[in-house]
Symmetry: C2
Subunit: 126 residues, 2 copies
Amino acid sequence: MDAIEKIKFDENGLIGAIAQDFSTGEVLMFAWMNAKSLALTIEKKQAVYYSRSRKKLWFKGEKSGHTQLIKEIYTDCDSDIILLKVEQTGGIACHTGRKSCFFNQLQNDSWTVATEVLKDPKDIYG
Amino acid sequence: MDAIEKIKFDENGLIGAIAQDFSTGEVLMFAWMNAKSLALTIEKKQAVYYSRSRKKLWFKGEKSGHTQLIKEIYTDCDSDIILLKVEQTGGIACHTGRKSCFFNQLQNDSWTVATEVLKDPKDIYG
């Protein structure tokens, strides 16, 4: 794909990807992609990341059902970060059962949990 | 600072930071921070990044005047990405003179410029 050839992957063959709720603008999560996962994301119109810990493709939502349907894809002025605007299935992107992974807010020099758990992870992952 | 000790910097001592417009939710840019730049960001309530190419602190807006005033700071479930909610001075975050760095939109397998230049970079940087 031409689009992927323009992308600047890092020395590990990866690029960071920000997932943002298409409707509300809320930033949901940040994960990594390799060329294969970006190609699959474009092809399937569903977010596919690359898990650095598991060293394999990560089909977002394959266990939880919390897939991310792609509405728009952007890259930045350096072509070295991806922004996905997504429809978040189930309204939960985070493995903690929260909508967004960015739930730790800095307040008075400590990180305070700012948003609630919408679904118990035990009920998400069994 | 306690807050910084909780953060997981990568093997290069860096953490990725997403800057988001506090009012509109628009994702403005992605850059890197080291512990010193994060501490300065918290202390000065203005975004301070770390430039990997120049290998030094990057006081956002020091040349352009396009500083980012910090409204809220978050980290994610793994404490390995920062989200800054900012008030973008001048309404321009990108060195190309656009509001956001994420102006290349994927359309039919090619990246299309989706937003306009608000100010000529020559007029920003002289």
